[in-house]
């Protein structure tokens, strides 16, 4: 009796084909990070065990994302609809090469941050939730890269935003609260604009599924105000990505939190904005992108040049890095402005490279500050004498950031410049090269002051001085606090060099991702293919 009463024919509302176990890789990043995060949260008082849980969890996340990327490259775009409901009503997680690759790199950087945090986070910041927030931040970041539903994308933005608030104020000192208020207000405005735009879009096309939106938009009458929606998305995500006129929040806040936090923020949060811009402007609203291409290009140039100039003007290491983040965003925007398969390959590659290198540069800064007790360029000096290894890491990362071979930044810039020239945007290509030159100067200035000269301002120059005066400081620190930091830094530097020396595999993945953005038929087919199309 019970059986017949409780079973109904659900085939018109639900997917009835079984889901392969390997397809669970699509949601496993969310499940892994939530479980790791809440277990850490429940063990808040055990500050010794927390790093182990976090490192294990984020290591697992890395493996899972690696498996996901392998599967996406093997089988093409994968979709899983939550609760088996038919799309576009069910919330779909749709993963293409772009999303899978970025999710993998994000998890590697988060893993490195957890390692770095072993030495960088004290018991108090762990009790206030450094590790739980880091993992829940990764829930948000992974969700953003993997979801196939634009409202769901908003939800993941909120998740990562709330976690980032928590991370930003871990020390609760005055400067941090001040930075957090600016960061919080501007980011809340951006997410509100995002929500408003999504509301308009839903009102116009009646769907939120990202595979369903392109064709629904194409079927709209000409007078539909979809350009307004495109403008709103552009503004919202430009704020998120810290593009030129709306980027005040970044230099105002990124120097305040502890370095592990600033590093993971600089690596991931702005790139999430870039990713959302690629999804919305290129894949969902390509026609309206063409209208806004010139706006995007001007914004890109202004962002990369102003960022590089800002970095040159700073006397605090951490502030200078904040401006470098902005400069790198400009290069990625240039690729989105050109919006060909080649330029988007460049943007994806640049995003991957920038995630690794920015976090690495923050880690170098953190260690330099720890060795010298200051972040002010005037008071820094003689770091080459204290730790040649750190100087080497800095040089590799600085070369990578400036786009010099043999590092990851070189290939990304080559692709971007090549794409701009091929699409007849010579001034954009020129700006990328000029900005690269300016960032080289900015980074060389940091290298010269912090690493090369013998000692801080006011001391006689020459390396001999630093060796003789502070004999105890010349020995490289091998305390437990530094072990995790060196491991984290080594991982990122190694990755940047590896990409620089063997870029083929990554370029192939980025190409697949870019092709999927320009022509989303594979993406759409993955969501609707198995079910016979739109009801």
């Amino acid at each position: 009796m019970a059986v017949s009463e409780h079973t109904a024919d659900v085939s018109h509302a639900m997917i009835t084909t079984p889901v392969a176990t390997a397809d669970w890789l699509v949601v496993s990043p969310i499940i892994i990070t939530i479980l790791g995060g809440v277990i850490c949260l429940m063990m808040r008082k055990q500050t010794k065990i927390q790093p182990r849980i976090a490192i294990a969890t984020l290591g697992l996340l890395m493996l899972s994302n690696f498996g996901l990327l392998a599967r996406v490259m093997d089988k093409g775009v994968i979709t899983m609809v939550m609760g088996q409901w038919l799309p576009p009503y069910g919330i779909a997680f749709t993963v293409d090469a772009t999303g899978a690759m970025l999710a993998l790199i994000a998890s590697i950087v988060a893993f490195a941050t957890a390692l770095y945090g072993v030495g960088d986070s004290d018991a108090a910041s762990r009790r206030y939730g450094f590790y739980p927030f880091l993992m829940l931040l990764m829930t948000g970041v992974s969700g953003t890269f993997l979801t196939g539903d634009i409202f769901n994308l908003y939800v993941w933005f909120e998740v990562l935003l709330i976690s980032s608030f928590g991370l930003l104020i871990l020390g609760s000192d005055k400067a941090q609260l001040d930075g957090a208020v600016k960061y919080g207000i501007l980011n809340l405005i951006a997410t509100t604009l995002f929500l408003i735009a999504t509301g308009y879009l839903y009102g116009l096309v009646g769907t939120l599924n990202m595979a369903d939106i392109p064709r629904s938009v194409a079927a709209l009458p000409n007078h539909a105000p979809i350009t307004t929606v495109a403008m709103l998305y552009l503004l919202a995500f430009a704020m998120k990505a810290a593009a030129f006129p709306v980027n005040f929040w970044l230099p105002a806040s990124y120097h305040t939190p502890r370095i592990a936090v600033a590093g993971v923020f600089a690596g991931l949060l702005t790139k999430v904005g870039i990713y959302a811009l690629m999804r919305t402007m290129v894949m969902l609203l390509p026609v309206h992108h063409a209208l806004l291409a010139h706006v995007l290009a001007v914004v890109a140039v202004a962002t990369m040049i102003s960022g590089a100039l800002g970095a040159m003007a700073q006397s605090d290491l951490r502030r200078a890095l904040g401006y470098l983040v902005i400069s790198s965003i400009g290069s990625m925007l240039a690729g989105i402005a050109v919006s060909t398969a080649l330029s988007l390959t460049g943007t994806i590659l640049y995003a991957i490279h920038s995630i690794i290198v920015m976090t690495g540069l923050y880690f170098v800064t953190g260690m330099a500050g720890r060795m010298s007790g200051t972040f002010a360029l005037r008071e820094l000096g003689g770091l080459y004498g204290k730790s040649p290894l750190l100087a080497l890491a800095f040089i590799i990362l600085a070369m990578s950031f400036s786009g010099l071979p043999p590092t990851s930044g070189f290939w990304a810039k080559v692709l971007l410049v090549d794409a701009s020239l091929k699409s007849d945007w010579p001034w954009l290509a020129g700006s990328i090269l000029v900005a690269g030159f300016l960032t080289t100067i900015a980074l060389a200035r940091i290298g010269l002051y912090a690493f090369w000269r013998g000692g801080p301002e006011g001391t006689p120059d020459g390396t001999a001085f630093a060796y003789a005066e502070n004999a105890d400081m010349t020995a490289p620190d091998v305390t437990a606090a530094y072990t995790g930091m060196w491991l984290a830094l080594g991982l990122l530097v190694g990755l940047s060099l590896f990409i620089g020396l063997a870029p083929d595999g990554l370029v192939a993945i980025a190409k697949t991702g870019a092709a999927g953005l320009v022509d989303p038929s594979g993406y759409i087919g993955s969501v609707f293919g198995g079910t016979g199309g739109h009801p």
Binding site: V19, I34, L41, R44
Partner: protein, 139 residues
Amino acid sequence: MNTVIFRTIAPFLTALMILFSIFVLLRGHNEPGGGFIGGLIAASALAIYGIACGVRPVRRAIHFHPMSLSAFGLLISCLSGLPSLLTHVAFLKAHWIYPEIFGVDLALSTVMVFDIGVYFVVLGSITSIALALEEREND
């Protein structure tokens, strides 16, 4: 708020509200209610108890830290999606069982587990905020 009437009534009110919140939570699948609103009612119950009798008795009464309750809620909500892995369907697909207990056909589901998780998340986070605010007032 330190009147005798309020202090006498508050524990009973709290007990009643907690009971009501569980009722609202369980009826939520097919009728108005659910984990979110249930959690809010339970959090208000604890807040009333805190206003009347002070924060320390509340913390003693719930035994666990409110943040841990929140985390526990998120944990079981997340776990409620996992049985789908064994039956080869998508994450968070509802699974139902209908055990017969004392001749009553009882409908239990993973959806309910998810909702109980939501209840704990809301209860934990709101209580955590409310208690922190009430503690400041006593300073």
